[in-house]
């Protein structure tokens, strides 16, 4: 049974990836998860400099989901290279770095720093964080902005470049196409859905940033649809995510068109989820007599269903 998948020049041992912002810098989880068993981990978003992020409260739970506005608190690219990357390498983790910027130049500079470091496998470009005032989603909500960031970073790195797309647009597939035309090796989708929760007793927003990004099982069907639409539009691999909490959910994204999947919110609930996901995917391959998980990618059968099947 072959669980490996290819993302551009990068081969992952399995399609299970810890999503950015949901796994710290990876080292926090080293006691509970053997990091080398994951397909990859994606670091928390990295700017050039350290950031403190928003005041608490930063999250609020919602039906089958959660809203967050952390504000990209982080240690910055250089401290990541010095303080986190050596341990991640020693533990055998495949590390994708999540690169942020408030300007085009910052994306380029952070990408350059991380490309020069030993132990970085790929660059995920965060052009979709809904929770910061400058940069991020401004690039991700403009086709030209998406194209410009991807092509600028493309020029300064040999690593696979994977822009992470926002679902807060009318036609996410057009953004996947802009990324592909700019030289992206893959796309990650979806980031969180911009949302809001209000305490009606106090009439105050439940999180300090007023609005935040919705994640968790509640968003999964929308994310699956967006992965499916992008699969119809681009040829580059898709890293699919949005509310995955079981092997069944992961397989749904893969069948819709994702080559690999990222898991975020469910890792908060169950940090031991990774082995369960791998086992469940293995069982599925056995049960369906499929030799390789890569053979399942985009295999959703959308032909018109015959009447006999519907009525049975």
């Amino acid at each position: 049974m072959d669980l490996s998948v290819r993302i551009g020049s990068l081969t992952l041992k399995n399609p299970l990836i810890a999503a950015s912002g949901c796994f710290g810098y990876g080292v926090e989880y080293a006691e509970v998860v053997d990091l080398s068993t994951l397909g990859a981990i994606v670091s928390k978003g990295l700017f050039l400099k350290e950031r403190e992020g928003h005041p608490a409260p930063r999250i609020v739970e919602t039906p089958a989901g959660m809203l967050n506005a952390i504000g990209l608190q982080g240690i910055g690219a250089r401290r990541f290279v010095d303080e986190k990357l050596p341990e991640l390498r020693a533990r055998g983790a495949t590390v994708i770095v999540n690169v942020c910027g408030t300007t085009l130049d910052e994306y380029v500079e952070v990408s350059r720093i991380l490309s020069d470091a030993d132990g970085v496998a790929a660059i995920e470009l965060n052009i979709s964080c809904p929770n910061i005032k400058e940069g991020g989603i401004q690039f991700g909500c403009s086709l030209n902005g998406t194209f410009d960031v991807v092509s600028a970073v493309r020029k300064v790195t040999r690593l696979p470049v994977i822009p992470k797309l926002t679902p807060n647009v009318t036609d996410v597939a057009s953004f996947a196409r802009a990324a592909e035309e700019a030289g992206a090796d893959a796309v990650s989708l979806v980031n969180t859905f911009l949302a809001m929760v209000i305490d009606v007793e106090t009439r105050r927003p439940k999180i300090s940033n007023v609005v935040g990004g919705l994640s968790g099982p509640a968003i999964r069907p929308i994310a699956v649809r967006m992965v499916y639409e992008c699969r119809q539009t681009v040829k580059i691999p898709i890293l699919g995510m949005g509310g995955i909490a079981s092997a069944r959910d992961a397989l749904e994204f893969i069948v819709a068109g994702a080559t690999a999947v990222q898991v975020g919110t469910a890792n908060f609930v169950d940090p031991f989820i990774w082995q369960k996901l791998a086992d469940g995917i293995g069982d599925y391959l056995t049960r369906h007599q499929v030799a390789a998980v890569a053979d399942l990618v985009g295999t959703v059968d959308t032909r018109a269903q015959d009447k006999e099947w519907i009525s049975s």
Partner: protein, 274 residues
Amino acid sequence: MPVDVSAEVIENRPLSHEYNVLALDAPEIAAAAAPGQFVMVKAGGSFDPLLRRPFSVFEIVRDASGRPRGVSILSKRIGPSTRLLYDTRPGQRVDCLGPLGRPFTAVDPPAEAWMVAGGVGLAPFATLAQALRARGVKAALFYGARRGAELFYLDFFRALDIELVLTTEDGSLGERGRIVAPLERRLAARPAAAPVMLYACGPEGMLAATATTAMKYARPCQVSVERIMGCGLGGCYSCVVPMRSERGGFHHVRSCLSGPVLAADQILWDEHRR
């Protein structure tokens, strides 16, 4: 190293229509837990509620031969998750991940230990009281609640020979008012040469007042903070507390990793309570 246990409920003891003590069968967690550490708990496998909730380890539950069998948590019913925990029956299973976080640092004689608890903030002090008494430390519990019927486990602390100083907002037991008032009188009366360590847990207003009072009398104070927490392992960055930075200003630390026990004089209380 934290472990995740699908823990059988040994006992669910209601203390009032809001408070209950839930004893969970989790020997590995019980054997490893230190006073002030916490567990991440979730009742039921559904997505609503989705996330676990943090609880201080309240008691170490022991079997007939005295071996650690599990931990209990002190829960106050305030939302869907704590409602589920309140209604849980013996034999049901509850997900319990722990022990997590940094514990209290116990003092040694001749220092005294004064624990300051507000409401459900009593939770970390049962095990701390036992640890302090085992070291021969003279200890007091300053314990405030809305009313006398919500001051729990008084006999437990009396049995450990812990002095009790009680306040209630309605005056139904102990002194009427907030717990910081008798605490401040005792601090004012204590000679500067007589060492005392304060330990505090409770609502943020009470914690800030206790911290401010401790600083006024130049006494060290360890607080156990309660923040909205997503994961308990450092992954989500939701449970941050603003702490004094060496370079001036503040930086956000994750209370799940750096806390929940933090040095009171290092927290920027105005930022924290904003």
